[in-house]
């Protein structure tokens, strides 16, 4: 992996980001309703409205608005939210940590569960365990995450009430955090009771998000483990008298991981995209939920801001995944 490769991948991201900016702008400027008319009180004079339109730059022609908007965005100025009257970038960055924590917990959960499922299906291959893992995988993949979220609410919040179904933290708890990374902060400062509460709020949304990824990881890793397990060097390890567990985890797993990383990389992106819906369902205060509020209020600058931040996140994740391939796959290092 050369610096030139990284640079080329970074440059490739620019047209995509530009495209996203265009799509968002076009979508939002064909708005039939007037966002200004919705935010002013009934007794506002046409003069007031005109002044507001000017303040938000809505009085200029569409191409001029686009150039102005692009110039602002490049400088990191995403404008002021119409409904919340605050700086958009600040609002989005304030909510982003919550979304990142949810996504990271979900990814960690998927990797741990997926790898464990694949290992146990390989260890006990040909028995009921393997069939059970295959069954779980098919069911997890066949049902969309929206329905999983609802089933989880029914199962773990109503029938067996173990987890809360909404929010990030109990609202009656008066804790102030120094950062927006609540979970990280609670863990770092050793407040484990608090961390437990945060995790119990995270549990259902994280499980709903991770189920498809667990199934994908388990399926792909299982099939590449089974390919590896018939190789000669595994036979050699057996002849040497290594235990089954050691052969599986120390000899087979490292070689089977590469195809798994390649195939599942794109699913990490799906998971991050899934946070929008899952945050809505579980009233989790991340940027997905903020987008919903912005959409209900027709808050154009805020919608633009959230969308662009999401697109940036996607582009960065794609880049990260590509670079990981380059690092873990020796065959790609020359390119």
């Amino acid at each position: 992996m050369t610096p030139a490769y990284v640079l080329r991948r970074l440059l490739l991201a620019i047209p995509t980001l530009f495209g996203v900016a265009v799509v968002v702008f076009v979508l939002l400027r064909v708005v039939p309703g007037d966002p200004i008319a919705m935010m002013v009180p009934g007794e506002a004079t046409p003069d007031d409205i005109a002044r507001l339109r000017e303040a938000y730059g809505l009085d200029k022609s569409i191409p001029v608005q686009f150039v102005l908007y692009l110039a602002q965005v490049v400088q990191g100025n995403f404008g002021t939210s119409i409904s919340l009257k605050q700086d958009v970038l600040g609002l989005v960055l304030g909510r982003l940590p919550a979304t990142l924590e949810l996504a990271c917990v979900a990814i960690a959960l998927s990797v741990v569960c997926g790898v464990l499922l694949a290992l146990s299906a390989t260890y006990w291959r040909g028995t009921w365990v393997e069939n059970a893992v295959d069954g779980v995988n098919s069911v997890a993949l066949a049902i969309p995450e929206f329905l999983w979220a609802m089933l989880l609410i029914l199962a773990f919040a109503v029938l067996v009430p173990v987890f809360p179904i909404s929010g990030r933290i109990d609202p009656v708890r008066a804790v102030s955090f120094a950062s927006q990374f609540y979970l990280l902060e609670a863990l770092a400062t050793g407040k484990f009771a608090l961390a437990r509460e945060l995790l119990s709020h995270l549990a259902l949304p994280a499980i709903a998000l991770s189920l498809p990824l667990i199934a994908v990881i388990a399926r792909v890793l299982k099939s590449s483990l089974q390919e590896v397990m018939v190789q000669d060097y595994i036979l050699l390890a057996r002849v040497k008298g290594f235990s089954d567990t050691r052969i599986l985890t120390r000899e087979a797993l490292p070689n089977a991981l590469l195809p798994t990383i390649t195939v599942t990389g794109v699913h990490f992106i799906f998971l991050v995209g899934g946070t929008v819906l899952v945050e809505l369902i579980f009233s989790y205060p991340g940027i997905g939920n903020m987008l919903f509020g912005a959409a209900s209020n027709r808050d154009l600058p805020l919608i633009q801001g959230v969308t662009l931040v999401f697109a940036l996140l996607f582009v960065l994740l794609n880049l990260l995944i590509d670079l990981t391939y380059a690092v873990v796959n020796p065959r790609m290092r020359q390119h």
Partner: protein, 277 residues
Amino acid sequence: MKKLLRNPRFLFGACVLLALLFVAAFAPWLAPHDPMEQSLLNQLLPPSWAKGGDPAFLLGTDTLGRDLLSRLIHGARPALRVMVLGATLSAFVGILLGMLAGYFGGWLDAAVSRTVDTFMSFPPMLLAIVLAAVMGPGLNTVVIAVVLIGWTRFCRVVRGEVLALREQEFVTSARTIGVSHLRILFHEILPNLLPLVIVLLGLEMGRAIVVEAIMSFIGFSSSDLATWGGIIADARSYINQAWWAMTYPIVAIIIAVLGLNALGDGLRQVTDPVLQR
């Protein structure tokens, strides 16, 4: 045809689709009550077989005393409409652009592929929510959201397939004897895409039903229709008094999705010559 009827996946899928069509078509006659009719005397009734249930309200009622069975039956109508319109429009747009991009290549391919990349760099729900903010809630918004999310899936797969088909001998020989591009695309290439398109269409119809449920759940579908997502959203707010209300639409959606996916799969198993060998 005989083979089709012996394929269990196809049979299951066909039954689900027929049931959905039947329920949606005859909803006003099947439903025992008006799905919007409120009755404050009959709030939150449990299902009729449970203690305190009323046989007149087979599946019970919601907080406004509306009959859940009737709402479920009427909810099949918007679901079916979004499913049919959304999936076919996505297929139409995606297949057309994918075929043109894959066959002609060059700048057209570059433009289409970049556009697909751009659309895929949004989380699908984000696209739907932004669209809803622009168009306002309604059934048409939901259909367009399905198309905005779905066309890329057809486009990508079809483009890749056409890219491979274009180099096949039957296409190159058709070119040599002077068959026009348009005729090659629609008479030579399109029929070869059909098995693939059928599976994608089955998947897309399932997805469309889920998108409809999600959009009506978050209140971006028509508010004066009974929708499955709407029932779920209502039921979520009184989940601690009546958890069962939520299960009916969830079960309906799961069966619909599994059935539609099986339908596409089964059709492919029977029609795809490669799979029959």
